[in-house]
């Protein structure tokens, strides 16, 4: 991990290229995180790649309910030469959850982005094949969102089959 000062140096460099790209930095318990503008994610990632952070260790979604903007897309970048990690977080609103796909940079972000779409409903623009991946295709809703109820699925047995989908068949 870069230390707190190293994180500021990186953030300043990113701000130098585009002052609106970086929204803030957090250094907490050894984890360096840069909050970025979701519309600038590709530019920021390209710059960090030039600095050596050229491996995408993980990509995941987070729901910050009740904070706004609610959804977060977190990129965990890794520099294999310096053995350094940095996290990028882009927050998108629930009304318009759009962010550019990084599949053109890392083809391996295909499945993680599909998972994030499946679980949180974040639309990755430019993704070649954005479909549900873990949930069934006809599933409605985004189950990892904090306001999605647990146990809301009707469990079908022969005795209650007629109360659910079998009713009007």
């Amino acid at each position: 991990m870069p230390d707190a000062a190293g994180l500021e140096v990186i953030a300043e460099e990113l701000r130098g290229a585009d002052p609106s790209a970086v929204l803030g930095t957090t250094f907490d318990r050894g984890r360096a995180e840069i909050q970025i503008d979701p519309s600038k994610n590709i530019e920021v990632i390209e710059q960090l790649r030039e600095r050596g952070f050229n491996f995408l260790a993980s990509l995941h979604g987070v729901d910050y309910y009740p904070q706004e903007p609610r959804l977060g897309v977190v990129y965990e970048l890794l520099d294999m030469t310096e053995v350094d990690r940095i996290s990028l977080k882009a927050r998108v609103s629930i009304e318009d959850p759009r962010i550019a796909s990084v599949t053109s940079i890392w083809p391996g972000s295909d499945f993680p982005e599909r998972e994030c779409f499946d679980m949180f409903g974040v639309v990755f623009e430019g993704h070649p094949d954005l479909r549900r991946i873990l949930m069934p295709e006809d599933f409605e809703g985004f189950p990892q969102r904090r306001d999605f109820p647990i146990g809301g699925e009707p469990i079908l047995f022969t005795y209650n089959e007629t109360d659910h989908y079998g009713k009007d068949r």
Binding site: R31, E33, V74, M80, W106, D110, L134, P143
Partner: protein, 413 residues
Amino acid sequence: MSALGDYRKREESISYSVESAGMGETHELLSLNIGPHHPATHGVLRLIATLEGEVVRDIKPIIGYVHTGIEKTAEQKSYWKAIPVVERMDYLSYYFNAMAYCGAVETLLGLQIPPRAQYLRVIHLELNRIMSHLVWLGTSALDLGAMSMFWYCFRERETILDLFEMSSGQRMHTRYIQIGGVFEDIPPGFAAKLQKFVDGMPARADQYADLLEKNQILLSRLRDSCILDEQTLLGLNVTGPLLRAAGNPWDLRKAAPYSSYDHFDFKIPVGSVGDNYDRYRVRHAELYESTKIIDQALKGLPEGPTIADDRKVVLPPRHELATSMEALIHHFKLVTEGFRVPEGEAYYPIESPRGELGCFVRSDGSAKPARVHMRDPSFVNLQSTAPMVKDSYIADLIATLAMVDPVLGGVDR
């Protein structure tokens, strides 16, 4: 199924060479469904393969059949109650799942782990790595026609499971690793039994090599098949033995040591070509290295407590409950509500048998995690199957799938 419908449409865009492939009679493409229930997929994995004769032009993995919503379930449980659920993701490397999750929570809490607990963790993690590789080796060899390997590998695996049963009471999903350390010290007799296993294991691994590496059928099926270079693998975010087989010695145990891995002397096996044979060799060589680590950890096992001494997080010792009111209160609070974790986020990566296993935990200050996400190496590495098997025979697809070693419990979570 609209997935299949979309796929049919996309078939037209698949490029294929004009040279005759397979039988060469026609160039008609055939979509073949493999799975979800097929012994060679090592789990509930479905593949739609596009074939031209016997040559694979493209495969599409369809997953999600064993998705059980573990990440969602973990959000409903207090931190310590989530350990058994996350353990059940990748069912062959349960110690690793627990380690990644506990590591992330410990980072958030700022807990210091006693040295003995770190060594005990290493012993169990490496035993688990051997166990996972043995299951991989046995089932993969079975796919390639070597029946007897399966019995030999499962014989050694049985010894490891007996050791797990001794230290934790369970053979699988042991919940041995706790937040703050390990559940209990190793019982009397464990060290002797483990030492016996460690002394015998290299000879067993030699036997496997003798059985497999002089087998012409196996060699011709693995050598020079389905090569994928290092740069493509890095672009696909692949880690673990698959990346090391292509010559990149990236291993988190060496690169960013956690849980006192820097105390041990071991090597990172790497391949040179990046074919299926190298993938096999790298994992086989890891059996020896893991044995070496266990040997050193057992011989240098420090004395001391096996769990951190923070009464706000760790259950008090059982005997104190009868004498100390404070211990009783702590015990009650921990069991009913659980402990609160300060707000924040942590990502804790470790080297699992299949690559980087990272656990992301977000805490909102309550006693339940607000988000648990596992970066499971099986899930990410599965994407590399399609580029690996492109333009090779369907028999190589089976061999490659075995060598990629995806565990579907980890893929679907």
